[in-house]
Assembly symmetry: C3
Homo-oligomer: 164 residues x 3
């Protein structure tokens, strides 16, 4: 039991299991997912694709890394609810507006996507998900999303699975 801290508090209860040792070899799987989002911005639920790759990997205990390979895109975990995805879009535009394009030094290079580099830092480049008993070890509402902030061209996401 840990003492509670800060302005709130909550008891910790641990659901306990014995550690597991493996006698088989380490496995890995590497896959690249391609996207071409037709608009500048968009969110794509990629959960089922990642689940299929976990099955294919044969890994029963390990981790699954999913990351954008482009620096104007994100991978994050949140809720599959259209209102929320709309709220993210509005919120990110407020925190890191696309306009005025000339306000960003990066756009002097001929790009107009400086805001996309900023938005991606809020949402995150990657997620690392535990694999337990051969499946993504997810809470009830966790879904993996690709977040595109400068679309209309082909981009990749990397899925790397390692474990036993």
């Amino acid at each position: 039991m840990e003492p509670s801290q800060g302005f709130g508090s909550g008891a910790i209860r641990v659901a306990s299991h014995a550690p597991v040792s493996f006698h088989s070899d380490m496995k890995s799987l590497t896959e690249y997912l391609w996207f071409e989002v037709p608009n500048r911005r968009g969110f794509v639920n990629i959960t089922r694709t990642v689940e299929e790759l976990v099955r294919k990997s044969g890994v029963t205990e390990g981790i699954c890394l999913v990351n954008a390979m482009h620096i104007t895109a994100a991978v994050f975990i949140n809720d599959q609810e259209d209102g929320l995805l709309h709220d993210y879009e509005v919120w990110l535009e407020k925190l890191a507006p696309h306009e005025p394009v000339a306000a960003y030094h990066h756009n002097r290079t001929g790009e107009d996507n400086a805001d996309a580099h900023l938005k991606r830092q809020i949402m995150g480049r990657e997620v690392v998900v535990a694999i337990t008993k051969g499946k993504l070890d997810f809470g009830p509402w966790e879904k993996i999303f690709y977040g595109e902030f400068d679309g209309r061209r082909r981009k990749r996401v990397l899925v790397k699975i390692i474990g036993e």
Copy 2:
């Protein structure tokens, strides 16, 4: 040695060690921590609990993933200092205000927690911590926190340890 970049600069010095090979089997440990924060928002220092799980795992070289399993909560690493936790609370409320509740489309579903989904993206879903010589390989002030943004109900955090 890497050239310095950007608007600041700093020399890199590398403290160097030989790579380590392991001849034992891979190990893993999976644990679920339960929380029920009595207020809507709160921070809980879970460092000691995670340290105990690392000991229990028997892993000496590897990584420890700690992630919220709910999408209105965060896991992050920062300082155990009450003033700072207060500053996070004020700052997150400014960047992603709870009110007006009706400003968020997500809240049309009957929820009032859209802001919690946004706040969690700033603070992060997960941390990945190195395990070296059987311990969390931490800097002097690093502490692991559970960040609750929509509490008053039971929620889980996953701890997954893999390594040798």
Copy 3:
């Protein structure tokens, strides 16, 4: 194939490979990079240093964790473009201003770096990068940066490589 979701959409195509099994032992490498950024804030491109450590580790399939060991610094992946690094500096100062110092409770401890703790949450503590065929598995523009928000003193970054 996953259905598209949210306000945008994009087809997913998977570049497919067979899973790989390893018959050698697990390897790990632990290194500490030291920084002393001469200004309060600065960004340092550490990509080549991390690449050299991956080579040194001998790991061909695995992951590389790179994290700040101090809680007023970040490690993130984005573009080596001076205009963009300038834009990050301006943007972070807007989202989490240094002044007025007295606005933050944390600074009542005698510190003046509360904003640095906030800025680091936006940019992130760590990155996890896949290692494939002995190299960091990077998209065309991905570079690893150390982000300093309270410099003028020595600080460390941890590089942990595990795999086969």
